[in-house]
Structures are given as C-alpha cells and as structure tokens.
C-alpha cells in the first residue's frame, strides 16, 4: 500500500536545518527549561479553616481511631473526670500534691508532665494538663487586677517562686490569682526574662520588672518582626524612673499601611507604636540657634481613651541646619539583587526610588553601588553625583537573580565607603533589601557586631526595606539601630519621595547621637505610669549616664515624640491599691509631676551633654500632641492593647480628623484613611 508513497518519498528533498538556527533553538529551549525550573511556585496550600477544618479533623481522627486506643482514651477520660470532678477524687489528688510537684509548685495547680507516674497513658497526660480549666471556671477577673496586685507587693512580701510553664495561658494565671493570690508573688526578673523570647538585643538582661507575667509570648523564632510585649504599667513608688532611647524609624508605619492597603489588618507584632507616631512630621517649637541641637517640649494633656488619666507628651524637635552648608556626602548603595527582589515592588521600585534621590544630591557628593547576590560585586566605582547618566545607567543595569549574601556585600560596601571618606564628609551605606540575608551570616547578632564596629569608625548604615513576603523586619531593625541609621520601609513611590527626597537631609545627617530619655515621676503626684511604645528601645536606668551605651540618633529636622499615660494619685483609674505599709507621704498637689532628662552627644563626640526640664501640670492640648495621641491609640488598637477600654477606631478617627492641622504633605489625611479602612477590616 505504501509502494506509491515510497515513490513520493524518493521525490522528496528535505532540507537540512541550518546549523546556527539549530544551535540557537536548542539554547532557547534550554533557557526556557531552566527558567521554568526556577520559577515553579510552590503549590498554594488550600486553607482549611473554621468549621470545615474542625469537621475534617474530627472525621480524620474518628476514621483512624482504633477500638483499643478508643477504650484507653475513654477510660482515661472517665478516670480523670473522677479525679477532678468528684470531691473524693479531688481529695486524692490534692493529698498527692507533694508527689506531683517536683520543684516549687506547691501552689501551682498544673502538675508538670514529667512528674506524672510513668504508667499513666498519654491520654491521661493530656487530660491532666487541661483539667484545671475544667474544674475551676475562670472567674471574670481582670487580668490587670491580678498582675498589679502582685506587682505592688513589696519585695519583702514576696514568697515562694512560681515557675509558670511556658504553655500556660492567661486563664490559668487568673485561676492562680483566684486560688492563691495571697501567697503568690511574681517571678523575679531573671525568670521573667526567660519568657521574653523576642526582645531586641539591648533588652537582654534589662527587663526592669516582671514584664511577662502577662501571657507568655509564643515561641516566635519563625516570626521576623522585631517587637516585644507592650510596656507594662509601672508603679511610681516602686520604679519612679523610666529610661529609653529615641527611635526615629518609620518602617513599622509603612508595613502597617501596606498590610491595610492589601485588605488585611497587620500582624500585632508588626506594629511598633512609637514608629507610627514618629512617622509624621510635627510642628514643635524649634531650638534656638546656637543652643542645643534639639528642643524638648513637654505637655500634659487629658488621655483621649481614659478620662481619669493623663498623657505626658514629650516632643523633641531637631534643628534644621542650613542645607547649603551641609558637608559632602559619600553614599554607598548596597543593593540586594537576589532572586527574591525581582518583584515589581522590590528592585524596580528601588531603582525608581534611588533615581528620585539622585536629584537631591550635589555635584560634590559621591555615589558608589555594590550589589550582593550570592557573591558581592561593585557595580559602580565611586562616582561624583554630577555624572548622573553614569549612575542612572548603572542602576538600570541591575537585575535580580541568585542567592543573598548580606554580609559579603556589607563588608565590601563598608570598605568602599571608607576609601571614599575624607575629613568633614559624611559616609553612609544605604542598604536596600527585602530583608533576605539567607546566605552566609544570617545571625542578627553577628552582623550587628560587625556594624557596631564600623559605626565607631564613622561610617553609618541606613536600611531601606522593600516588598512583602520576605521581609525580615527584625534584622532590618537591628542593623539600623546598630548602624546609627534609620530603618524605613518603602512600599510605594510616594513613600520613597518622603524618605529619600522630602526628609533626605534628616535621614543622612545626624545632629545628635545617642539620644537617651530618662523620666522620673514624682510618686506623690503620679501613682502609675505606662510608656506607650518604645518596647524595643528600653534602656537600663544606669545606661542613661553611661556614654558607652548606644542609643538612637536624631537627624536634621527630625521630630521625636514619646507618650506616657500617667495615673495621678487619687484617680479612680488607678489599677493598683496604695500600700498599707508604704511610706505615708502627704499628697500635696504640686505643679511638677516629674522631671525629664535628656542626654545626647554631638556627632562624633564621645562625651554626652545633658538637658533637663521639669514636667509641669498644664492643660493646653496642642493639635500636634492630640494628633500624636490619636496615632498612639490607633497603634494600640492594632496591637490589641487592653488599656484602651471601649475607646474604638471611630474615636481615633474623630480625634485625628479634628487635629489634622495644616498637613501640607497629606500624611495625616492618609493616616485617617488607613484608620477608616482598618475600622472596616476590623469588623469582619
């Protein structure tokens, strides 16, 4: 049948493929093949939530349940019910207490699992651990009540130590309060520290009191946001002095905005209230020329969310040096070009942002570019800013690909910065990344030491974060705090405009280094106080006068705002009872509530200067202070803080709207918009 086809075939002349085309096609196919391998996304996990998830779980459990296991478990349940729900059972169990508590758990109703007799089945173990919640119904006692009563107890009254098992929930703490409050005293600081897993580095060993008697944080090693639990209420009589370092970062606000704009409330640990407050420029009294580089303004205003407390509003306004006289600037852009940066919101936005900034530089400024991806490389040798085309081309030539070696890049950037710097010039490395330091030294403390060393040689570091999903906020924070720089998160071109154009001078030229704030409250006037935000910036009391301890820097024209919520003596809002045996002091009403001390160093100086001013009772609530308060409220609501009572997002919106002020850049209007969005999101 194919005979005539063979004839046809004989007539056929098939040309040979062109060798070049052949090679090109093969190469193209190979390239596409590689691309395809690289970009394969992980399959998106199907979220199983709510009732469905529960039901799936239950059916899975039931279908895999063997009758033997079922019998063991139900028998164990009945046994536990007998043990805990009947008086006889409870007697048996309580008389057994000495055997159950291995350490000092005399009043701890939760036996540790290792103390349970070995023959008990795993099911009993589990039931035992859950049992206390069954047999003592949690009374509706305010958590603060317990905490504070424990806190106010003088040190001598402290009895045995309770070790709180890490898995213990707040409800259990409450139960403990009900059952054993008279003899319970809080764990001393070292134990409390054990629970504080995620504090910033300078927090280590600093926990002024038992911060974490409040719910012990989950193990947050997988979280990459730097934060700590909200500052606890302090009793002035016990701890009249509060010390912290200023924080001029704004990254947290941008992250919050980015989350809300994407239709999600931000994770609570991403919210740092002080960074949200300090995101906004405020119109505070400017320092006098020739005096200190910044001017503190202190006012006391009524707390928006609590009529019986007051807010102490501490504002620092940095001087704005004459811009024309600024020293020449050496900038090293250290740009992460790892594969993860290829997102439109990462490398492309970064390029645009830096191009915006380029127009702000002077001809005498110099720019160098280093990229890091797998291996670090210098893309642009130090080039005067006047050669704009050259810099622009170098920036545009960057492409994303490869792994990330943050430290290799840092080392190279610093060595270039050092080669560029001469007398009177300011050198700064601008690190732009999505937070990925996953090759090489990924341990924040190793990098941090390296940067701290370099800071002492006069090269500073600022960190710009880009993109979400990969953001390692904690590393960013640590690096910037140690590099005397700011950490900013850039999610839009207008944010780049704010950080790199409008506020460039402030971001790059420090006017005061190591600015520390110490407030001493008068216990006869103020019963309790609480610092809002600055959790990651707490300092030891003695660190204030120790010039070797690093703190935040204030840039030209920057404003810093700190808020304390204070409860006056005799206020009904007081959470703790006055001491019966404390030193009885005549509470005469005085105008001075406390005393504010500030320490700073002139840039480059080793010895600090001191500024002091009393905190006076006054009631002039400025627009600026009120707006700061509204943002503080917003931040605390996002953090899920319990101190605001019924004060809601709606109240925050009203307060912010009233105090919007001139708002020439529209930042405040944007914040109000965010609050409204967050309010709607919060309802879902």
């Amino acid at each position: 049948m194919n005979d005539d086809l063979d004839d046809l075939k004989a007539m056929m002349a098939t040309p040979k493929p062109d060798a070049q085309r052949r090679a090109a096609d093969l190469a193209l196919a190979q390239k596409n093949f590689e691309n395809l391998q690289g970009s394969t996304d992980q399959p998106r996990p199907t979220p199983v939530t709510g009732l469905n998830g529960l039901w799936t779980g239950v059916t899975t459990m039931l279908s895999t349940f063997t009758s033997k296991g079922g019998l063991t478990a139900t028998t164990a349940l009945v046994a536990c019910g007998f043990l805990f729900l009947t008086p006889t059972g409870q007697d048996m169990w309580q008389s057994d207490g000495s055997r159950v508590t291995g350490n000092e758990h005399l009043i701890d109703p939760i036996p540790e699992s290792d103390a349970i007799p070995a023959e008990t089945t795993a099911a009993v173990d589990k039931a035992l651990a859950e049992a206390p919640a069954n047999f003592t119904t949690p009374a509706p006692v305010e958590a603060e009540d317990f905490d504070d009563s424990a806190l106010t107890r003088p040190a001598e009254a402290r009895g045995r130590v309770i070790e709180v098992p890490p898995a213990m929930e707040m409800a259990d703490v409450q139960n403990m309060g009900d059952v054993a409050a008279p003899t319970v005293a809080p764990a001393p600081a070292p134990n409390a520290r054990r629970l504080n897993t995620q504090g910033a580095p300078e927090f280590n060993g600093v926990m002024p009191s038992m911060v974490d008697m409040a719910p012990p944080p989950l193990d947050t090693n997988t979280e990459r946001f730097a934060n700590a639990d909200s500052n606890p209420l302090k009793v002035t009589a016990e701890e009249p002095v509060s010390t912290f370092s200023i924080d001029v970062d704004t990254a947290s606000y941008s992250i919050v905005r980015n989350s809300i704009m994407r239709g999600q409330l931000p994770p609570a640990e991403a919210v740092r209230v002080e960074e949200m407050i300090n995101y906004f420029p405020y119109d505070y009294a400017a320092p006098e020329a020739g005096g200190d580089p910044f001017q503190p303004t202190v006012s006391v205003i009524p707390t928006p969310w609590n009529a019986d407390t007051q807010l102490v509003h501490i504002a620092l306004q940095g001087e704005l040096p004459i811009v024309d006289e600024r020293p020449a600037l050496n900038l090293v852009f250290l740009i992460d070009t790892s594969g993860s940066m290829s997102d439109a919101s990462k490398l492309p936005l970064l390029k645009q942002s830096f191009l915006l900034m380029l127009d702000q530089l002077r001809p005498e400024d110099e720019v160098a570019i280093v990229e890091y991806a797998g291996s670090a490389g210098q893309v642009l040798a130090p080039t005067p800013a006047s050669e704009r085309t050259k810099i622009r081309n170098a920036l545009n030539g960057l492409g994303a690909g490869g792994g990330t070696n943050g430290q290799g890049g840092l080392e190279q950037a610093y060595s270039i910065a050092e080669s560029m710097s001469s007398d009177g010039e300011v050198s700064r490395v601008l690190l732009a990344t999505d937070g990925d330091f996953n090759v090489g030294l990924s341990d924040p403390s190793g990098l941090e030491n390296f940067i701290a060393d370099k800071r002492d040689t006069g090269t500073f570091l600022s960190v710009l974060g880009f993109g979400r999903g990969n953001l390692n906020d904690q590393t960013m924070q640590t690096l910037a705090q140690n590099g005397n720089g700011t950490a900013a998160y850039i999610d839009t071109l207008s944010e780049a405009q704010k950080v790199l154009v409008d506020q460039l001078t402030g971001a790059l030229f420090p006017i005061a280094s190591d600015v520390k704030v110490q407030v001493e409250f008068d216990p006869t006037q103020i019963a309790e106080y609480r610092l809002i935000g600055y959790e990651t910036r707490a300092l030891n009391r003695e660190d204030f006068n120790n010039d070797a301890v690093d703190a935040g820097d204030l840039g030209a024209g920057h404003t810093v705002t700190a808020l304390y919520e204070v409860t006056p003596v005799g206020s009904p809002a007081r959470m703790t009872d006055p001491l019966r045996y404390g030193a009885a002091q005549a509470a005469e009403e005085s105008d001075e509530l406390g005393f504010l001390k500030l320490r700073y160093k002139e840039p480059g100086a080793d010895v600090s200067q001191l500024i002091e001013t009393p905190i006076l009772r006054n009631s002039t609530a400025s627009t600026e202070a009120q707006f700061a308060a509204s943002i503080a409220g917003f931040g605390q609501i996002l953090r899920g803080d319990s101190n605001l009572g019924s004060w809601s997002m709606g109240d925050a919106i009203a307060l912010a709207t009233e105090n919007k002020g001139a708002d020439s850049f529209g930042y405040r209007a944007e914040a109000i918009q965010l609050m409204r969005l967050a309010e709607s999101l919060g309802r879902n």
Binding site: A13, P17, R21, D25, A29, Q37
Partner: protein, 178 residues
C-alpha cells in the same frame, strides 16, 4: 544512545536539564523536517521549530510516560503548526493587500534559492488535514502511530492518505496537461 527517549523525557519532566538537552538534540532534525513538510517553506519551518523549542519545556508536563516520545513530540509540533496557521489567517485578514504581496514575493525568492522539490510544492496545495497526515506518514510513521498523534482512528488516516494521493495525482495531471 543507551537511554531510551522515554526515560530521558521522564527525567526532563522532573527537572533534569541535561536529559532535556540530549532529548531535544536527538530529535531536533526530525522535528525540523516535519515542520518543513507541514509548512512547505524553509523560513516558516525555521520559525515554527523555534516556537516549538521555546514552548517545549512547558509542554513537558503534559508528557505521559506510556506514550512514545516521538508520538508526543509530533503532536506538540502539529498543534504548534495549527496555532501558527490560525494566527497567520488572522494576520492575513488584517493585512490583506500590499503586505500579503510583499510576503509572497520574499517567500518566492527564498524558495527559489532552496530549489524546492515538486512534492513540497504540491503538498502546499493540499488541505491542511491531508498535508499534516501525509507529512507524518512520509516520516516513516505507520498509520497506527499517525492515528495516535492526530487523535483520530487508523481508518481515517488511511482514508486521508488515499485522498492525498488522489489529490497529488490530480495536481500532477493538471501540471502535465499545461
């Protein structure tokens, strides 16, 4: 050449770049020849082959172990050719007129240089179905294999081949008559 095509394709589908490279290297010439037969023009065949090469990595996912690699490859090529024809039809409709004429002119120049044989020219006049089928069978494929590639029954292939032969004969007679 100890590894079978099927093993190579399987490895390639699982991300082995080396396997993919050697697989394509083995079959490139055959693929080009088939493309040429389907299009009847060298330039067209080159472009089509390039399209297929570019898309092949993504298509690997659709490769089933139980099919012969050649079968799978021919099917991919045939589909690509169909896509291309469809696009050209749209384009031709849009650029009716001078563009068409210019294209035809350059194509003719090209063909002349290539000294295209009679069969190829004649095949270009066949209906696309017949042409594709004939191209497969001329490539030493059995009717059964061709049926698998085209997703039709073996009988259909046989019928198409006989139709194609009839058509070719008619063309031949017409030319001889002139």
């Amino acid at each position: 050449m100890t590894t079978s095509d099927e093993d190579l394709a399987y490895a390639a589908a699982n991300g082995d770049g080396q396997a993919f490279a050697s697989l394509l290297d083995r079959h490139y010439d055959r693929l080009f020849a088939y493309c040429f037969r389907m299009t009847g023009q060298r330039s067209e065949a080159e472009d089509l082959t390039q399209d297929i090469c570019a898309a092949l990595p993504a298509k690997l996912a659709s490769y089933q172990r139980r099919a012969k690699v050649t079968t799978w490859l021919y099917r991919v090529a045939m589909n690509a050719a169909h896509d291309r024809r469809r696009k050209q039809a749209t384009y031709a409709k849009a650029s009716d007129g001078w563009g068409d004429w210019e294209q035809a002119r350059t194509a003719v120049n090209h063909e002349a240089a290539d000294q295209i044989d009679w069969l190829t020219q004649a095949m270009a006049q066949l209906a696309p179905d017949l042409r594709d089928t004939l191209a497969l069978v001329l490539d030493d494929m059995t009717h059964a294999a061709a049926a698998e590639v085209m997703g039709v029954s073996e009988g259909t292939i046989s019928w198409r081949i006989s139709e194609a032969k009839k058509a070719l004969k008619a063309i031949k007679e017409k030319e001889d008559a002139q």
